[in-house]
Symmetry: none
Subunit: 221 residues, 4 copies
Amino acid sequence: MINRGLFGGGAAHLGKSARTRARLMDAAVRLFARDGFEAASVNEIARLADVANGTFYVHFRDKDAIGSEVALAIARNVTRQLDEAMAGVDDAVDRTSMATRRFIDLACSEPDWGHALLRALWTFRGLRESVVGPLRSDLQRGVDQGVFDVEIDDMLIDTFASMVMGGLFARLAGDSGADAGARVAELQLRMLGVPAERARAAAWRTLEPVALRLAPLPPTG
Amino acid sequence: MINRGLFGGGAAHLGKSARTRARLMDAAVRLFARDGFEAASVNEIARLADVANGTFYVHFRDKDAIGSEVALAIARNVTRQLDEAMAGVDDAVDRTSMATRRFIDLACSEPDWGHALLRALWTFRGLRESVVGPLRSDLQRGVDQGVFDVEIDDMLIDTFASMVMGGLFARLAGDSGADAGARVAELQLRMLGVPAERARAAAWRTLEPVALRLAPLPPTG
Amino acid sequence: MINRGLFGGGAAHLGKSARTRARLMDAAVRLFARDGFEAASVNEIARLADVANGTFYVHFRDKDAIGSEVALAIARNVTRQLDEAMAGVDDAVDRTSMATRRFIDLACSEPDWGHALLRALWTFRGLRESVVGPLRSDLQRGVDQGVFDVEIDDMLIDTFASMVMGGLFARLAGDSGADAGARVAELQLRMLGVPAERARAAAWRTLEPVALRLAPLPPTG
Amino acid sequence: MINRGLFGGGAAHLGKSARTRARLMDAAVRLFARDGFEAASVNEIARLADVANGTFYVHFRDKDAIGSEVALAIARNVTRQLDEAMAGVDDAVDRTSMATRRFIDLACSEPDWGHALLRALWTFRGLRESVVGPLRSDLQRGVDQGVFDVEIDDMLIDTFASMVMGGLFARLAGDSGADAGARVAELQLRMLGVPAERARAAAWRTLEPVALRLAPLPPTG
DNA sequence: AATGAATGAGTTTTCATTCAT
DNA sequence: CATGAATGAAAACTCATTCAT
């Protein structure tokens, strides 16, 4: 499983075509993370994936296509793992802080993916909704449980999401250590109306580590 | 002063060379905002500025040069105006919420500039520091005045800044109206430990409108 | 027999391989007519024929092969039908005007074929000879019968053929109606020395309509 | 004036830009004639013109642009020279036969141009009208003078034009000699109702030779 | 026979940058 | 200072053709 890339790993047991496709996506993630979407060239993606440049176009219509596909795949995987990690957690305070911390941890466990995700959230506006969507229900739950004292509106969601992205950015840039997520979560809880003491306690609670794993990707469009 | 652009307006009384330079920067801002830095081409900047493409290189060493110059100029102007707008305000709560609201309002008063600034803050990491720097002292002042109950560290600053950027983004994208700044400021104050009532009152206080004005730009070597 | 294409129709009762081949030729005709030979791609021909692209090369050595094969098949079919339609007609004036009119009508009865034929006559020089060849004997017959007062040389044949093609082109382009063939035939007869009155009468005589039918195509090695 | 090309010759005294442009057009004509429009590549045009490939796009938006520009320029020049050559000729029989013969001679005096013109007439439908347009008045003149006994309609014009193109084609293909034009003209006159004797006499009258010359081209588009 | 992924040379096109005028 | 034609490397994308299955 060494160096096979995350998509490649997931597609190992699939057909040859799916593996080539996965290799291209892995290569794209690496280059998008290193150079940014614009600066990454199709030819280099193909070279890194070890296929002819024409092969790229067998699998993707153009660079945009692989861009959004990669973004979507990452987002889907991250949110799915997030869901799994939070299954069985009922307390809104815990859910909220875990979501932030887990999200950042997951995205940072594979920095290429983290970078790609961050850029994608910036570039493909639609992604934000898919990532942020589930959040809304957790916040509402907190209000219902009487622990969040805040009005839930779009601006709150956006702001909450921005805080997460800021934390992720800081981690990926190396400006902060592994506790960035906890700190951000604490600040979020305070913002939501959780008393300072409880916010700190909840946000810094020890969390067993998880790593980003990838299930096989169904080929998309 | 009609449609002369913000740099152009400031440089109106200077020599011809300075005006050409200003026109180039105005054109660059427009294109950076619309297409992003990578996608904006030197030729198009020159065309929009109504000069020959070769003229560009009389004034700027290369494309990167005009990029950082524009970013820096915008940042400097925004912070300077922010400073002026807040002169005489002592209360940390007021200063903090005003900073956020004014910043967003200023950046949105000229959407091209706002977009360019947002992109620049993303691209040129250094800018953030220059824009965010003054903030730290306001936060510290709040702690000293006993109104902020929070530890001031890099993560707090980053998070605070991310919230502002999120609000700016939402405004520019048209996802929210003119009150985005107030809402963000309110949430920030809550996060900083200001009681909910006071946070709301302070953040939504009426603010007389200001517009972004630009002073002449000193030529940069 | 619905929409099965002309080759396809003729090959319906043959083996699967022959039907695949026929489908490829039908697809090729469509695309050659629409886009021209150069612009039509093998992949698109295959897609339109509903076979894998590799299958193309099972049936044709290369793109040129299907090009000349299609051209030849069309030319053969058109001339054969022309022959049949004129069997039993002895008068050279009638034969000549019928040839022109029938040729145009046949080629227009299936516009894709007409376009493909026109293009092919332009591209594959040799085709012209095979289509035009029989003409020479009709012209000679007219001289022998004393109704054509003209010297028969290559330039005459070429000119005669050009007039037919001009008429076909005008019909296919929609620049003229169903009587284009008659008008061209009339002008040809005048050119050949037939008195104006008789030329008009012969050329505009009512012609019962025929449609292009295709006999099965013998596989070509 | 050796090997400077026809556009190049005309542009010799103009600015450098116009000369480069002319060199590109000369190269394009050569390649269009040799390989056809589709098969000629922009890179090869540039190489033949002895400029960098990027330079092509300084002067033409794309391959289509130089294609229609070249076609238009040739057509304009040919028709202008035709006009000049026929100034002072009043008799419709003479005008008509001269037009056909001169046109073919001109187009063949520079075979590259002839081929390009022929292809262009085929490809750019609009050209035909501009070349053929003046013809209509000559035909009408013949009717008015009582020498042409024919109805003038679109089909007649089209047929007449097709005959010219057929003759040009035969000449360029080497299928016929210098007298192709005269033969075609003779056949045309017969078609128009001119008695055979007179048609032959008029069409074969000696014509002093002319060569295709080019005036400087005003830059287009 | 049929498949369809893979190839890679070739095409169009863009663009930051230079330089003679 | 200003010009704008010229550059050429590099990008995106196409496509006839091959080949293992």
